[in-house]
């Protein structure tokens, strides 16, 4: 693997009325495991089902019902852990987090406080400008999702939909290594990319399948470095947790807004209360969710209905053996094998489908040219059409055919664009189309020379000017291309023009 080296990104600095301030951010990302059944019941996890239709007796906490671990969900958590290069704990355990709420039928959430299934790992977060940071993962634990309370259907009553109750979530907890709003969004994006590669979470933030709690604090420049040296949190400011963010854009906005709120408090001589806050998208502000008096005591204790979860190293090894090539590795390989730029490699490895498409196009062909065509022509065209790679009308074989025709100088780049449009809209074998529609590049210098001679003969004044100002050679090239219906080999034309005008 190619060793990619990056500069560390600069921390975001916000100037307050008195000082400059830096941001310190840690995230807890809740990712719904892509699984057909729930973590402890056989009920379906299908999104958008009729309210209360995906509910097993254990989900609605009927008396005497017991949870049984869904092994598939455990496998996905292990897979995710391996994807984040994290420690897999062969022994973990489930705990109950107790609190009352109507969308939590058991009166407790089964989670993993004391012994999570995944321990420390790390994620390389690139910012696309040559900077990147390794963000440390503290842990991943598994837990049940809660249901949904609906307060706006009736003026006097609230309704509860238990469909989500018991759906398996992975909570991925980062260390406070993130230093700015863009980095936070990039971190979430990178997690999503990795989990999509792994197939463990679809990353759909709109449906709530991936959400983040964002911990934000502020510190004076220099303090963070002291924290890094000592791992002593007292060098950092008091953090606030912004709950349940389900958009990258809002995550960035909320961090900025919250940081500015904290700066204003501290600069006015106040202190920041450690609390849970919500981001109000409409008003563009964060507000406190609950006061200290209402702070929950979750009374965590080991769930006596479930035995400690013990898994075998052999099983973990088997899962590791089926892991796909991960984004960082794929990107490095694209750079080294195909000679791509960092940027192009990033774009092409953004998702598995694009990467696979590109590889099919580039296979046995000019990789850089293939990358240009996939990124600029294909992606551009798809975007204009509001399509993506999954419903792309051009197969990699077709696009590969076009790239091959260009490499073989059978067609010019300009003709290739016309050809691409034909293939995109009408389909067909590019080589055949070129043949049938006479789109082949004219490389016969005799024909090009004849056309050029005619143009020179017809435009003596231009010839004189061009001799003084060589930049005007382009005009002759254009005229030749026009005369040959664009099929003349531009390289040959350029050479001939230079040669003739230089005489």
């Amino acid at each position: 693997m190619l060793d990619l080296t990056y500069e560390l990104p600069k921390p975001k600095v916000i100037s307050g009325a008195k000082h400059d301030w830096e941001l310190v951010i840690g995230l807890e990302v809740h990712a719904q495991v892509s699984s057909n059944a729930k973590l402890f019941s056989g009920a379906s996890t299908q999104f958008g089902a009729e309210p209360n239709s995906n509910v097993a007796f254990v989900d609605s906490a009927m008396p005497g019902m017991l949870p049984v671990i869904n092994e598939y969900c455990i496998e996905q958590a292990v897979r995710t852990g391996l994807g984040l290069k994290a420690q897999i704990n062969l022994k973990s355990a489930f705990d109950r987090k107790n609190y009352f709420y109507p969308d939590l039928p058991q009166g407790y959430q089964i989670s993993q406080l004391y012994h999570p299934i995944v321990g420390e790992g790390e994620v390389l977060v690139e910012l696309g400008n040559g900077t990147a940071r390794n963000v440390r993962i503290e842990r991943i634990h598994m837990e049940q999702d809660a249901g949904k309370s609906i307060h706006d259907m009736d003026p006097n009553m609230s309704f509860v939909d238990l469909n989500r109750v018991g759906v398996c979530l992975m909570e991925i907890v980062s260390r406070p290594d993130i230093r700015g709003p863009e980095e936070a969004a990039a971190f979430v994006g990178k997690l999503r990319q990795i989990m999509r590669y792994l197939g463990t979470c679809d990353g759909n933030m709109q449906n709530g399948n991936m959400r983040a709690d964002v911990n934000v604090s502020i510190c004076r420049p220099g303090d963070y470095e002291k924290y890094q040296e000592t791992q002593d949190f007292s060098h950092l400011g008091t953090r606030c947790e912004i709950k349940n963010m389900n958009s990258m854009r809002f995550i960035q906005q909320a961090i900025e807004v919250e940081a500015r709120r904290q700066i204003a408090i501290v600069e006015a001589g106040g202190t920041v209360d450690q609390e849970t806050r919500l981001y109000d998208v409409e008003k563009g502000e964060t507000r406190s969710m609950r006061s200290k008096e209402e702070a929950h005591d979750y009374r965590y204790f080991p769930d006596p209905d479930l035995l400690p979860l013990e898994i075998e190293q052999e099983w973990v090894d088997q899962i590791a053996a089926t892991l796909p090539e991960l984004p960082d590795d794929k990107k490095a390989r694209f750079i080294s094998d195909f000679g791509l730029s960092d940027y192009d490699a990033s774009v092409l490895t953004a998702d598995v489908e694009s990467a696979a498409y590109f590889e099919a196009v580039a296979e046995g062909r000019n990789g850089k040219l293939a990358a240009n065509w996939v990124i600029n022509e294909l992606f551009g065209r798809l975007k204009a059409d509001d399509k993506d790679i999954s419903n792309c009308p051009v197969t990699p074989e077709q696009l590969g055919g076009i790239v091959a025709l260009i490499s073989a100088e059978t067609i010019s780049g300009k003709i290739a664009k016309d050809l691409f449009e034909i293939v995109y809209t009408e389909g067909g074998d590019p080589a055949l189309i070129v043949e049938e529609r006479g789109m082949k590049q004219v490389t016969d210098t005799g024909a090009i020379e004849a056309a050029l001679d005619q143009i020179i003969a017809d435009n003596p004044a231009q010839v004189e000017k061009a001799k003084v100002n060589p930049k005007l050679a382009g005009w002759f090239v254009g005229q030749v291309m026009k005369a040959t219906g664009g099929k003349a080999n531009p390289k040959a034309v350029n050479q001939l023009v230079a040669q003739k005008l230089g005489e």
């Binding site: 007796f57 009352f100 009166g107």
Partner: protein, 495 residues
């Protein structure tokens, strides 16, 4: 045939196989006895139609060669078991009107084995109590009375209805559950046999949870043989309960040879409590002698952490209960308090739970909430868990030293009068569990065998504690003790 209800499981089974009676006759006999025993308040939900239907079906099956072990035998089911379409409210107001859409694994196993359910049996609310007095239905009453005394006595708890019904011959046998002694103490109080199997032997699926790490179901019967028959029918691995053991179920009845020659029986010195009534001491000594006479070797043993068992139990069990009972919130099923205008979700919870739970349940929910709360968790819950580990190790050490079973009294006294403990410190009531909770904390099998009468004519029981998963061996030792004790007394019928 008259008095079919007085039969035990084995006798009735044999008569059925010989064609000398029918399940319908047996069932009818029990239903008649139940109807005449309103004063005992043992059956709280009767299911006569369902019983007759199952009895008829059993009689059909009995005509073939492959009728299952308990085919046609009428039994009672503790109200803690969820029974499909039949009221199952764990003796609590908060589950008023709750009819589950599912059948507990244990009661389903019994149905599959051909047993006929007569109805649901009284119990302490959520199995929290030792006298059946915390029941929303009012207490069950023991069929036993002291000589020359009409005072009503407790059948014990929490499986008081089960004990009363079996002792009064309202059914041939009954299910019970045991979290800290709730099978063994009522069995001892009523001259019946009750076994709590090894934790994990019976599935907890569909049994209303009290303390998940301690709860076990078991049979309450008229003889050790019946206990063997019924335990085999009830237990077995269940994939729906993660704590259920994936072990084969032996033929327990076949293991009842009565031969205990060379078995090593431990007598733990720590169970000799200060202020223990002389009659209990005598009973224990007599039981020890009986086992010795039967060929067992008696050894004095020490279970040094015994004295910490009761406090540890009364931390762990309420802690788990406080969480297990959180689901009774009035949102989805059972009782919901009538709310006033302006009441929100908090008021709904508070009023519903205040109305729905009795005082003992509320007390334990509060204790459990307290011991799990921030700042107290380590001092109480974690310490209790460490004690539990030590208690378990006490037993492991003794068994490792070659002891096969341990003999102790089942209870510190004979049955007490209903209402006698009403004004007492709750801890007085908790002391009833002093000999039984260790077994739950260690997850071991324990059986109570009636072994004699006290001076006032009330039954007393001895407890045998066995090795994990060795219920067969334990039942055999109990069988030998039963034979030697020759307990045949029955309560005189006053109801």
């Amino acid at each position: 045939m008259t008095d079919l209800n007085k039969l035990g499981l084995a006798e009735a089974r044999d008569l059925l196989r010989k064609g000398e009676t029918t399940s319908v006759e047996l069932t009818q006999s029990c239903l008649t006895a139940i109807d005449a025993a309103g004063a005992l308040n043992a059956f709280v939900h009767k299911t006569p139609e369902l019983a007759m239907e199952r009895a008829k079906a059993a009689d059909e099956r009995l005509k073939g060669d492959d009728a299952p072990a308990m085919c046609g035998l009428p039994i009672g089911i503790k109200d803690l078991f969820c029974t499909k379409g039949v009221d199952s409210q764990a003796g609590s107001r908060i589950l008023e009107g709750f009819k589950p859409e599912y059948e507990s694994t244990v009661s389903q196993n019994l149905i599959d084995n051909g047993a006929v359910m007569l109805g649901k049996l009284n119990m302490d609310e959520f199995a929290m109590g030792s006298s059946n007095e915390t029941s929303v239905y009012g207490n069950a009453v023991s069929p036993w009375r002291r000589d020359n005394d009409d005072a009503e006595l407790t059948p014990g708890g929490s499986s008081g209805g089960s004990a009363s019904a079996v002792a009064a011959d309202l059914c041939l046998a009954a299910t019970g559950t045991d979290t800290g002694g709730s099978i063994r103490q009522p069995a001892a109080f009523t001259g019946t046999v009750g076994i709590k199997p090894t934790y994990g032997r019976c599935s907890r699926w569909g049994v209303v949870a009290f303390a998940s790490s301690l709860d076990q179901a078991g049979p309450m019967t008229k003889s050790v043989r019946d206990a063997a028959i019924m335990l085999e029918a009830m237990c077995g691995h269940d994939a729906k309960d993660s704590t259920s053991a994936d072990l084969a179920v032996p033929n327990f009845e076949a293991m009842l040879t009565g031969d205990i020659k060379g078995k090593k029986i431990g007598i733990p010195k720590e169970y000799r409590m200060d202020g223990m009534p002389g009659e209990i001491e005598t009973l224990w000594a007599d039981g020890t002698a009986m086992l010795k006479d039967a060929g067992a070797e008696i050894v004095d043993i020490s279970l040094p952490h015994t004295k910490y068992a009761l406090p540890a139990y009364y931390v762990i069990a309420p802690a788990e209960a406080s969480s297990n009972l959180a689901r009774y919130d009035g949102v989805r099923y059972g009782h919901r308090a009538t709310l006033e205008a302006g009441d929100g979700i908090t008021e709904m919870y508070e009023k519903t739970r205040a109305e729905g739970f009795g005082h003992e349940v509320q007390r334990r929910v509060m204790i459990g909430t307290y011991v799990l709360s921030a700042g107290f968790y380590d001092a109480y819950y974690n310490r209790a868990r460490r004690v539990r580990t030590l208690i378990k190790k006490d037993f492991e050490d003794v068994f490792a030293a070659g002891v096969d079973a341990i003999l102790t009294p089942a209870t510190p006294s004979a049955a007490f009068g209903l209402g006698e403990m009403t004004d007492a410190d709750p801890v007085q009531m908790y002391l009833n569990d002093v000999f039984t909770v260790t077994v739950n904390l260690a997850g071991l099998p324990g059986i109570s065998v009636p072994a004699g009468l006290d001076a006032q004519g009330l039954p007393l029981g001895l407890q045998l504690i066995g090795k994990p998963w060795e219920e067969g061996d334990l039942l055999n030792t109990a069988y030998a003790l039963e034979a030697a004790a020759g307990f045949v007394a029955k309560p005189r019928k006053w109801w």
